[in-house]
């Protein structure tokens, strides 16, 4: 529960959370315009189609905000998005989906005289694999004679250029969004590419032309930003629609292809040590758990191709699936979106989860802050050896964090030091991990969990466990 503003950059209002419920305070100057927008057909249509978050105005001030709201202001309640995620955690496909939604809304608004005053990925959240535009204060009335979309520059910096860098140059989106609030400048990409590439179709108009013109633009000063008006509405609308259409084509072309190729994990299912029978056995062990315990929210850590996330979603759970490999997460996103599965796939390395970022480190809470106490079940399947060996995290630490994130269950796979996959990671340091026997694993787990069920994987020394947190009755 909180009454501290989490979104405050917009001079028109602020966003608060009461528990998980977002409440937006719209200041008096913007209240009338916002009320008109929300009551209008344009906004209502966007809400009905699910493109914009469901929003209603509040008649009475909630107790926690009574000291904050003033006369003449408007308070809006938004439908809560189950799990917040940020662009640093999205694969290319998700940033692309958020970009296309932003463009769709900007284009639909032209006919209704409404525009977007900003265009950033932080205006979009994902409900499962479905992008939802959440920043209601981004809408503004437009002069129908105005042919300029001022937020286009921001769209380029925060959507198009990071997509270009990620898909053509292999720059991870996390490295862009964790270190910068406002995306990439054309000059940054310009420095990364060869002279020949600078004049190629993919980079010329998006990167090179803006860089070549920047000197001239700087010399011109602020005159460039003066309002411009055309003779007729029709011409202004034609210019805007053509510009947005161009941006859409460029964005759509950058679909998660390019440098991704086969990664260490995208071909994991084919190379890992499971044969078909034992995989089937593992799958039915997890499925039985899902049917018996019916967890409403599941976190699948190290989801890989997402087999167990799909299983959980098909049994009615709301799933957040994380993996450090953007390629597998992107593929899972595409599948979840196409098949309408309630899975939110995110690029998160559980050994180094997304840190808190933004002003005062409070604008975007860390992954663990968001995850803590959110999930009735946590899956850690074929993961423990990666955390213990590759990331050198003590087993007790891994289980302690699992117990903080889960409210009740942990479904975990024990991988012994003799396992071929374990051996692959050890690289001659066997002595360090010899103590990780099954007895040691169970004894360490007992500090946090009670073992509810266990089963040995056929033809292997691996074991599967369903555990329940100790303090839950």
């Amino acid at each position: 529960m909180t009454s501290k503003a989490r979104s405050f950059r917009d001079p028109a209002g602020r966003l608060f959370f009461i528990g998980n419920d977002p409440i937006r305070q719209v200041f008096a100057d913007a209240a009338a315009g916002c009320r008109k927008l929300i009551g209008g057909a344009f906004f209502q249509d966007l809400m009905c189609s699910g493109q914009v978050v469901k929003t209603r105005s509040l008649v009475s001030v909630p107790g926690h905000l009574s000291g904050i709201a003033r006369d003449g202001e408007l308070l809006l309640a938004h439908e809560a998005i189950p799990f917040q995620s940020f662009p640093a955690e999205w694969p290319i496909q998700m940033l692309q989906a958020a970009a296309l939604l932003t463009l769709d809304i900007a284009e639909q608004g032209i006919g209704s005289g409404i525009g977007l005053k900003d265009a950033t990925p932080y205006n979009v959240l994902f409900d499962g694999p479905r992008p939802v535009f959440v920043d209601v204060l981004s809408f503004e009335e437009r002069d129908p004679l105005d042919p300029v979309w001022l937020a286009q520059g921001q769209f380029m910096r925060t959507f198009l250029l990071p997509l270009l860098a990620a898909s053509k140059l292999g720059v991870p989106l996390s490295s862009v969004f964790l270190t910068r609030r406002d995306g990439l400048e054309p000059a940054e990409i310009y420095r990364m590419i060869t002279p020949l590439r600078r004049i190629s179709a993919g980079f010329l108009s998006t990167v090179s032309m803006p860089v070549w013109l920047s000197g001239k633009a700087e010399a011109g000063g602020q005159a460039m930003y003066r309002p411009r008006r055309l003779q007729g509405k029709e011409q202004a609308s034609f210019v805007l629609k053509t510009l947005i259409g161009g941006l859409r084509r460029k964005t759509a072309r950058l679909a998660g292809k390019g440098s991704s190729g086969p990664t260490r994990w995208s071909d994991y299912c084919r190379t890992c040590s499971y044969d078909q029978d034992s995989f089937q056995q593992k799958s039915s062990f997890v499925d039985q758990f899902l049917q018996r315990c019916k967890p409403a929210r599941v976190l699948d850590i190290g989801c890989n191709t997402g087999h167990f996330s799909r299983l959980a979603a098909s049994r009615g759970a709301q799933v957040v699936a994380i993996d450090q490999d953007a390629a597998v997460v992107g593929t899972l996103f595409e599948e979840a979106r196409a098949r309408k599965l309630d899975i939110l796939p995110l690029v998160v390395d559980f050994a180094r989860p997304t840190p808190a970022t933004g002003w005062n480190n409070e604008e975007n809470p860390s992954f663990l802050t968001r995850a803590r106490g959110r999930f009735e079940a946590v899956f850690m399947l074929a993961l423990i050896h990666h955390l213990v060996v590759t990331d050198q995290i003590p087993l007790a630490e891994v289980l302690a964090v699992a117990a903080r994130v889960s409210t009740r269950y942990l479904v975990i796979e024990y991988v012994p030091p003799e396992d071929p996959q374990f051996q692959r990671l050890v690289r001659g340091r066997e002595a360090l991990y010899r103590h990780l026997t099954r007895e040691h694993f169970e004894k360490t787990a007992a500090d946090f969990f009670t073992i509810v069920q266990s089963s040995q994987v056929e033809n292997q020394e691996r074991w599967l466990y369903v555990m329940e947190k100790r303090n839950v009755q």
């Binding site: 520059g153 910096r157 011409q235 053509t242």
Partner: protein
């Protein structure tokens, strides 16, 4: 001492620029305006073409 002077001389050769008040997005804006201008012209060109194609049709009838 000589080495120190050489380093100082090298530093003068590569001055660092302060970008605190520059507008890095201005290139995007100018390019956007340029493209908009040509799209604006295209609008009239389309109108002219539509006008001629319509009158050509009328002549055919």
């Amino acid at each position: 001492m000589k080495r120190l002077l050489a380093v100082l001389y090298l530093c003068l050769l590569f001055p660092t620029y302060a970008h605190a008040y520059s507008d890095p997005g201005s290139g995007i804006m100018l390019w956007q305006l340029t493209v908009s201008f040509f799209i604006g012209l295209l609008f009239y060109l389309r109108k002219i073409l539509t006008f001629f194609s319509r009158s050509a049709k009328r002549d055919d009838e």
